[in-house]
Symmetry: none
Subunit: 250 residues, 2 copies
Amino acid sequence: MLPDQRREKIVEYAENNGYASLQQLAELLDTSESTIRRDLEYLDGKGQVRRTRGGVAYVGESLTDFDERTTRALSQKKRIGRAVADLIEPGDSILLDGGTTTLEVARHLVNRPLQVVTNSLPIAQLLMNSPETELILIGGYLYPKTGVALGPIAVEALRTIRVRRLIMSVGGITREGMFNSNSLLVEAEQRMLETAEEVIVAVDAGKFGRNALSKLCELDRPDRIFVDSGLDDNWKEILGSTDVELTIVE
Amino acid sequence: MLPDQRREKIVEYAENNGYASLQQLAELLDTSESTIRRDLEYLDGKGQVRRTRGGVAYVGESLTDFDERTTRALSQKKRIGRAVADLIEPGDSILLDGGTTTLEVARHLVNRPLQVVTNSLPIAQLLMNSPETELILIGGYLYPKTGVALGPIAVEALRTIRVRRLIMSVGGITREGMFNSNSLLVEAEQRMLETAEEVIVAVDAGKFGRNALSKLCELDRPDRIFVDSGLDDNWKEILGSTDVELTIVE
DNA sequence: GCCATAACGATCAATATCAATCATTATCCA
DNA sequence: TGGATAATGATTGATATTGATCGTTATGGC
């Protein structure tokens, strides 16, 4: 890889994650720590990043900084995002549904060698400048506000796709199953469920017990559920009686 | 292969990938590294690319501002964009291809009651916050840097769509027809041509006489061509002998 | 405060890339 | 055609980058 290219990636990675360790960067860019050190020295001199002991921090308005000051639910989403991303292996093909939680997952997928399919404009935007990632966009009627593509075009496009893992979030979970607020969204998501070998649901604990407009699937349909530590013991029991593998993120 | 042709391809490749190594280029163009070095020296001198150790980097927006010629091309693109947008009527359904010129068109479509279909991520991003505009996104393999969706998914999605007007740009125009640099792109664009009642091509005059990799269509296939006033008289004659309606934007 | 550990900067040998040069080949023009 | 000019590919010495290693310095736990 070209030196300039490598340095640009370092800035990009730091920008997306707010911080990056030397080891992370060395592994990610497949080079020695010495080289990374020299790159950081160079970039720090140019003012593009700020060196810290053990790594590097992005300077200026970071995407993550923008969110940093927000609610606890978001910091939980960040943790969930990291936990889910740690599960992903190099070369995986994954389908990312729209949503703020899945966006947090996507942040940790930047510059990793993956095949990512998504119907979310923000996620696509985020991963577009990640050269290691092969990105496939699901088109369709673009739902305002959330920037998610839905409708018949999306459903049709999903028909031709097969992925190893689906990562999605939901609007509400009750004993009756999982729900979302928009029926067009649910229709697309039901199609997603069919295309993935493994289904991973990532939600914050606040979604449990809440209902929403349209039923997506049964409670035991996912293979894995990632949730933060705020989950009620009662719900742990309920999920324990199913085949779903529950991961509590501390 | 002609030296000029080769150099153009180098710029093209760098533009599409952001970076290119000497070895890549030498292999791609079937020539020695010495020749590539000389080409890069030449192109760097002209400011078309930036040399880096081991290869070459595409010159981004930051540097183009200093280049008088490209700045002028941009202001021309802006004028062309406005002229094309003036043609659009309320309620129109239009298909916007990717590219900097069509992006300028899109800027003038914000908050207008339209149905817009596009395969370009930047255009979708721009129009997403326009409540009046119904936005339909064409999905597919997302081409890095340019953010345009291509490939079989895009082609298939275009099959189900009909629009009143197609607005596209091209990479080069010769007597033999219209060309673009990427064969996947051309394939999608050919499908676009089939779905539109009226085809509008918007280009700056610099594209005339220039060749590109892959042939898109015949010279007289568009219904209208918008171009800036820099167009050669010779070309005006050639286009005058066809059915294409030529609009010169002052 | 003290130790163990981790990160740092400096240095060196190995490697990769560069610019300059030269002989050969292709292209142009009379 | 023939001569001049330009472009090409290979070579070479110079230079820059890289990865490993070393002694030094900062950090965190006890």
